[in-house]
């Protein structure tokens, strides 16, 4: 028996003892899925990484080209690897902390098969180019609806288990699970609102600045409530288990929980610093991001200090090694995140590989290492045996750590290098590196090193898979674990909790859920109210018009190919950017952009003002083979755009859908759209012939050229403001 048996004093009549079984089958299913999807998702990431220094690694196949593959990687590691890891951790710990079997086995399996079917659907549709383009929310509307249904099933199962629990007080890990379930549902629904066009295409109901704010409110909190809170819950359960020590401070965990969930939801605008978002929202995002250090570090210290008196075990036990690594990485990432949210730091780091280094400290370190530790701890217990090889698990730890170092250190150097190079001026006042390619060439060696790091990390996962497989083979699976417990409901009322104390709150699951909901809603509401205000007040620019039918289809191909994975469309108000790209971006330029395409990373240059910068023939040749026009470019070839016929069958539906979300196409324009499209395509073909390019007007590349030539053209055509003095003359 464990030394810490706090409730020994309770008088328990023998007749009140209940016998029941924990469901281990569902835990094993999620564990297997975690390992498989981990390997798949990380391998997709490795292929993306290789393509950045060896573009031919897409084999000229559109389905595995960087723009389409990157969301496969991000969705697979976030929702497949971490998602299944999260369910694995929750389904095991929740039953034991509640001393109850899951509320419904049917809901458990609906959760498992539904979630994994969604992942398979994502793995098929994203390479096919069915994407909304919104980061970590790329899946199109039918899959989004399926996600909502499965998430509701999970939430009902979670809350149902809590309601039928035998343990009176709800442990801190479960509070984090509740916050996860509630907040992810809200974020997913609000950000996912679309007007359907076809079965695999929808347009965001938000445009431009509003869309950006909602998206990064979602994007940031997907990190918070999908990658962080469930894993903090797991930390609070598995770390004490592995260390055989109670939590360092339960009091601190209370403050950690409420402060964290309250603050996190506000910090989204730090992804949009120096953009066309109002300063007020940017500053709010920055301030709350900095405040986030306090609860994050409170949680980290609570985790690490739980190991007090058990540090000698860390040397021997790979499970604890992984946990210490994970919690340390969490501390590093949550210190760095607020630092990156400071506007002056962000002015350098944004759009660079620094952000990639930051997110991978969290993903590889916090989520990866914690998942591995739980797997190493859990699988031997599920199979009633010992881990097959502790030595191999220790090797895995050091290989994973080395892989992380090889990944993040080159990315830090690359990020700072490119950030500095983009901003560097000569003493005469010109850009030191006016050709963007010079800055790309400089960081290619770091991309190679990053791929080595990724390879090491994946190799470690393969070692783990082998070790766990051998462990399972050596043991006997325990599908159901029979236990006995006494329900708190059968105990005397002498143990009643003082009303309105936290102890009382911990025994009221619905009240606790309501309080957590209010805590996360406040931040969301206060951020969304200005968003609505902005919607009414974005200064319109009279020269900004809706896209022509051909440009619209070209824009949708731009989305399909994931061009925004490498090219931003947001020029910040810095001299280094206006010198390089042109006039800084205004909110009014995006009023017809459903969705916004600002991007978050510049592997290539910003395209907001690319319209009219090059002739049509340049774009044609560049898309066919980027190195023909830009020697040394790492952009992939897009030969299929030259050969694939432009699909105009849904053109009318697209125009109607955009009108429904507020784009002012004239009534009945659907009937004239195809004629306009053909007319514009014919003009581009003539222009291409001037550049010695023979092209057919009905190919996809014509639409893409039309769209690229439109970018920034509206504001260039705007009449120049007449200075007041001149006007008065």
């Amino acid at each position: 028996m464990n030394a810490a048996s706090p409730t020994l004093a309770r008088e328990v009549p023998r007749t009140n003892v209940e016998t029941f079984k924990y469901d281990n089958r569902i835990v094993r299913a999620f564990a297997i899925a975690t390992v498989i999807w981990g390997i798949v998702g990380m391998s997709a990431g490795l292929l993306c990484a290789v393509q950045l220094f060896f573009p031919a690694a897409n084999f000229n196949l559109q389905f595995v080209t960087f723009g389409r593959l990157r969301p496969v990687h991000t969705n697979a590691v976030i929702f497949a690897f971490v998602g299944n890891g999260m369910f694995m951790g929750i389904y095991y710990s929740l039953q034991r902390l509640c001393k109850a079997r899951m509320f419904s086995d049917k809901l458990s399996w609906l959760n498992f098969w539904g979630w994994n079917a969604i992942i398979v659907a994502a793995a098929i549709t994203l390479p096919l180019g069915f994407t909304t383009s919104k980061e970590y929310a790329e899946l199109e509307w039918p899959i989004k609806i399926a996600i909502a249904v499965i998430w509701v099933a999970f939430t009902i199962n979670l809350l149902g288990t809590i309601v039928k629990r035998r343990e009176k007080h709800i442990y801190v890990a479960i509070w984090f699970y509740i916050a996860t379930a509630l907040t992810v549902a809200i974020l997913h629904i609000v950000n996912g609102l679309e007007v359907p066009v076809t079965f695999w295409k929808g347009y965001s109901i938000y445009a431009g600045v509003q869309d950006a704010l909602v998206q990064w409110w979602y994007g940031h909190n997907a990190v918070a409530f999908f990658l962080t809170t469930p894993y903090l819950g797991m930390m609070y359960y598995y770390l004490p288990k592995a260390a055989n020590r109670p939590v360092f401070s339960y009091r601190l965990s209370i403050i950690h929980f409420w402060a964290l969930i309250f603050i996190y939801i506000w910090a989204g605008p730090h992804h949009l610093l120096y953009t066309a978002l109002p300063d007020w929202a940017q500053s709010l995002g920055m301030v709350f991001s900095i405040m986030l250090i306090a609860p994050s570090w409170g949680g980290m210290l609570n985790g690490l200090l739980t190991l007090r008196g058990a540090w000698d075990k860390v040397r021997q036990d790979p499970v604890l090694k992984f946990m210490v690594g994970a919690v340390t990485a969490y501390g590093m990432a949550t210190l760095e995140g607020p630092a990156l949210a400071i506007k002056s730091v962000n002015s350098l780091s944004h759009y660079t590989d620094w952000t990639i280094a930051h997110v991978h400290t969290g993903a590889l370190g916090w989520n990866g290492l914690l998942t591995f530790s739980v797997l190493y701890w859990l699988i031997p217990r599920l199979y009633d045996t010992k881990l097959w090889s502790t030595k191999l698990a220790n090797y895995h730890f050091w290989i994973a750590l080395l892989g992380m170092m090889f990944y993040v250190i080159p990315m830090y150097i690359a990020g700072i290098t490119e950030g500095m190079m983009w901003k560097q001026f000569t003493k005469e006042g010109f850009l030191q590196y006016p050709n963007f390619l010079e800055t790309v060439q400089q960081i290619i060696p770091f991309y190679r090193l990053r791929a080595i790091g990724g390879t090491l990390y994946i190799f470690g996962v393969w070692l783990m898979a082998y070790n766990l497989w051998k462990t399972a083979r050596a043991g006997v699976f325990v599908p159901e674990e029979e236990v006995q417990a006494v329900s708190y409901r059968t105990q005397s009322a002498a143990h009643a909790d003082p009303a309105f104390s936290h102890r009382w709150l911990e025994s009221k699951p619905m009240l606790l859920t309501g309080a957590a909901l209010i805590a996360v809603l406040i931040g969301g509401m206060i951020e969304i109210i200005p968003m609505i205000v902005i919607k009414e007040n974005v200064p319109t620019i009279s020269s900004v018009k809706p896209y022509s039918p051909l440009e619209l289809l070209g824009r949708d191909i731009y989305i399909r190919e994931g061009c925004l994975g490498c090219h931003s469309q947001m020029i910040r108000p810095f001299r280094s950017e206006t010198e390089r790209y042109g006039e800084y971006s205004k909110a009014g330029e995006y009023v017809y952009d459903h969705p916004f395409l600002w991007g978050s990373k510049r592997i290539g240059p910003d395209l907001q003002r690319v319209g009219g910068k090059y002739p049509d023939a340049w774009h044609y040749n560049h898309l066919d083979d980027p190195r023909s026009t830009s020697p040394g470019s790492i952009m992939p070839r897009y030969p299929w755009l030259l050969s694939q016929e432009l699909d105009t069958t849904s053109l009318e539906a697209r125009i109607s859908a955009l009108r429904r979300v507020g784009v002012p196409y004239p009534a009945g324009y659907e009937g004239k759209a195809l004629e306009d499209l053909n007319h514009q395509a014919a003009k581009i073909v003539i222009d291409l012939s001037v550049g010695q390019v023979k092209a057919q007007p009905d190919r996809e590349i014509i639409a893409v050229i039309a769209y690229l030539q439109r970018l920034g053209a509206d504001i260039k055509s705007a009449p120049k403001a007449v200075p007041a003095v001149a006007a008065n003359k």
Binding site: Y171, P246, I254, N537
Partner: protein, 64 residues
């Protein structure tokens, strides 16, 4: 842009309200946490360890 938002009236108070709300939530959680008695904190902090006893979650075994 921010000037236009500012002119809408009351928008600048959002920042102050936000900070005040956080201080209120933080203070409330501190008060609630520090009002808890040590035995309860100790028992809850050790809750994950309770099911370590093999196949038995009875807090007070019948034989005692």
């Amino acid at each position: 842009m921010s000037q236009i938002i500012d002119k809408l009236g009351g928008i600048e108070t959002f920042g102050i309200v936000s900070i005040c709300l956080f201080v209120a939530v933080f203070t409330a959680s501190m008060v609630l946490a520090f009002c808890l008695k040590k035995p309860f904190l100790k028992s809850m902090g050790a809750l994950p360890l309770e099911d370590d006893r093999p196949k038995n979650n009875i807090t007070n075994p019948p034989s005692l």
